[in-house]
């Protein structure tokens, strides 16, 4: 099979388009690269959505954790502790079992004028269930990062803001928030990379891949089982992950440069990438 054919047949296989049967018999390298790449769509989907929603929730958590009243602070502290203190692996298993136990029912609501009928059985599917777990998990980790940065905002900046008569929301939006984001950004970049790597765990999380629409590792293990040779598919996964990690670093680096554009060049903090295993 030529590579173009493989691409046509399996390019969007992970979304359910193209060839129905996965390749069998003689399996070429093209099919492996294409199909695993197609699975990467899911990894990217999980990472992008979890990070996007997680960013805002993490910000709320950080502000709540830094708040004085205990009824605001305690829930945020506990949320962060629970999700940072336990393995993501266990969180996945537990969430899946919990979602499966939920009674089957539908909820109807309208979002932006479109009627949507949500069903609880969606939660037992990877696209929603695993996404929710990843979302909570990254929110907790990023929340702790933002909390640390919030505490590290220079006292002088806040005093200057007070002197200018800024207070409350205006002070937060114009002084605290930009400085906090700037300080947190290198650590947050690492968190984004972690989370992206953590999407590989979805494969092991017992959320089923319906109609063989799986993520990158799903197809990699399929090929490893079929060909009995793990030395091709797993390195392909690794290469894909490295490529997208570099992409994340590039994008976050640009944002970092923008956040620090007011500083003299020598004083700008550099991104120090420290990818680490497991969470």
């Amino acid at each position: 099979m030529i590579c173009a054919e493989a691409f046509q047949a399996y390019g969007l296989r992970a979304l359910g388009y193209g060839e129905r049967l996965l390749p069998r018999g003689e399996i070429g390298i093209c099919e492996q690269v294409v199909l695993i790449g197609s699975g990467m769509i899911w990894n990217i989907y999980f990472a992008v959505l979890a990070l996007t929603f997680g960013f805002f929730f993490a910000m709320a958590l950080a502000v709540a954790k830094a708040a004085r009243p205990a009824w605001v602070r305690k829930p945020a502290e506990w949320f962060i502790f629970v999700f940072r203190g336990s393995p993501l692996f266990i969180q996945f298993f537990m969430a899946y079992e919990a979602f499966v136990l939920l009674p089957r029912m539908g909820v109807e609501f309208t979002l932006l004028g479109v009627a949507i009928e949500a069903e609880t059985r969606w939660l037992a599917r990877a696209w929603l269930g695993a996404l929710i777990v990843l979302f909570f998990n990254t929110s907790a980790y990023a929340g702790e990062i933002f909390y640390g940065a919030l505490k590290a905002v220079p006292k002088g900046d806040l005093e200057a803001a007070d002197a200018y008569g800024l207070s409350g929301w205006t002070r937060f939006r114009r002084i605290t928030f930009p400085t906090m984001l700037r300080l947190a950004w290198p650590a947050y970049t690492n968190e984004a990379i972690f989370l992206f790597h953590a999407t590989a765990l979805v494969f092991f999380s017992s959320f089923p891949a319906i109609q063989q629409r799986g993520d990158a590792l799903y197809y990699a293990s399929y090929f490893a089982d079929r060909t009995f040779n793990p030395f091709i598919p797993y390195p392909i996964v690794a290469v894909y992950f490295v490529i997208f990690t570099l992409l994340i670093i590039a994008v976050f680096g640009l944002i970092n440069a923008r956040l620090n554009r007011h500083l003299p060049r020598a004083a700008r903090p550099r991104l120090r990438i420290r990818p680490q295993v497991m969470r």
Binding site: F81, V82, G85, S86, P87, L88, F89, I90, Q91, F93, M94, E97, A98, V100, L101, H197, A198, A200, L201, F204, L217, T227, F228, N229, P230, Y234, V237, A238, F241, V242, T245, R274, P275, Q276, V277, M278, R279
Partner: protein, 293 residues
């Protein structure tokens, strides 16, 4: 376990659970917690030792040793997480068999890789197929421990190298001025002082190590995740203790176990930080000195 357990189906709830939680398979489940502690107890010192070696090697005068130390830490840190874990055990397994094959069967002419299969002579099978079950389990466990130690050793090496660099230069120069040899400076001045700088990084690694233990399940070890899935699955009335799908509750138990473990570690590590700050030329040490004065 208890005498009243002969016919569980007629027992009231409290006694039923007492019997259920103390039956034979549950003791295997409780034992698997020991597996986790055993893994941590072996891996942590091993990883620390490997990290220390790597950090010391990274500072060596002789270039090849330095490259070895730096190469090791860089290699493991650069490769993405879980792929490494899945892959490395396999490579290790096949590597050991291949080397034993070369030694044990020099006259072997068939290719080892026949298409997709990895075939070595029977004498090189590790462990031997005639070996009892526990040898297979121990071998798998040892492979897992070694994998953990290599990965976490690289992390420790990175942290310890940074800590060694963080010890104030003046301290080392003073020691040299007193006429200490390189080894003496290293063991008497650098090493005692570096721990306080290494501790935040090391405690981070310890937390990650705790949270990495469920991955044992992926390496085919019968650990707590394995037993939680096994025991939690629903049981029909054909079994002695029929129950619906309880996996959620078992995983909840594991979650609480990990949270408690993390919390205890946090408390111990913060005590250790205070202990190590004593007499150090850092802000923490200064605070302690003031408090005592």
């Amino acid at each position: 376990m208890f005498e009243f357990c002969t016919d569980p189906s007629v027992l009231p709830t409290g006694q039923w659970f007492a019997c259920y939680l103390t039956n034979g398979v549950h003791f295997l489940f409780y034992q698997s917690f020991l597996t986790v502690f055993l893994l941590l107890a072996i891996t942590a010192p091993l990883a620390l030792a490997m990290g220390f070696g790597a950090a010391a090697a990274s500072r060596a005068e002789i270039a090849p040793i330095r490259w070895l130390g730096k190469g090791y830490t860089a290699m493991v840190r650069g490769v993405p997480d879980i792929v490494f874990f899945l892959f490395f055990v396999l490579v290790l397994d096949q590597g050991i068999e291949y080397i034993r094959h070369l030694i044990a069967c020099p006259g072997w002419t068939d290719p080892i890789r026949q298409g997709a299969n990895f075939i070595v002579c029977d004498a090189a099978r590790t462990p031997q197929s005639s070996a009892p079950q526990w040898v297979h389990e121990t071998y798998n466990f040892a492979l897992a421990i070694f994998t953990y130690a290599i990965v976490f050793g690289a992390f420790c090496g990175n942290v310890l190298y940074g800590a060694m660099q963080a010890v104030p230069r003046a301290q080392l120069e003073t020691a040299e001025a007193y006429g200490m040899a390189r080894g003496q400076v290293f063991w008497r001045v650098l090493v005692p002082q570096m721990w306080i700088y290494a501790l935040p990084g090391l405690s981070n690694i310890w937390m990650i190590l705790i949270k990495a233990t469920p991955l044992l399940f992926l390496l085919g070890i019968q650990d707590i995740v394995f037993w939680a899935r096994e025991l939690g699955g629903s049981r029909t009335s054909a079994y002695q203790y029929p129950h619906p799908d309880w996996r959620f509750w078992y995983f909840l138990g594991l979650l609480i176990f990990y949270l408690a473990f993390t919390r205890v570690s946090e408390i111990v590590l913060s005590r250790l930080t205070t202990r190590l700050s004593r007499g150090q030329a850092t802000a923490g040490g200064e605070d302690l000195r003031r408090a005592e004065a």
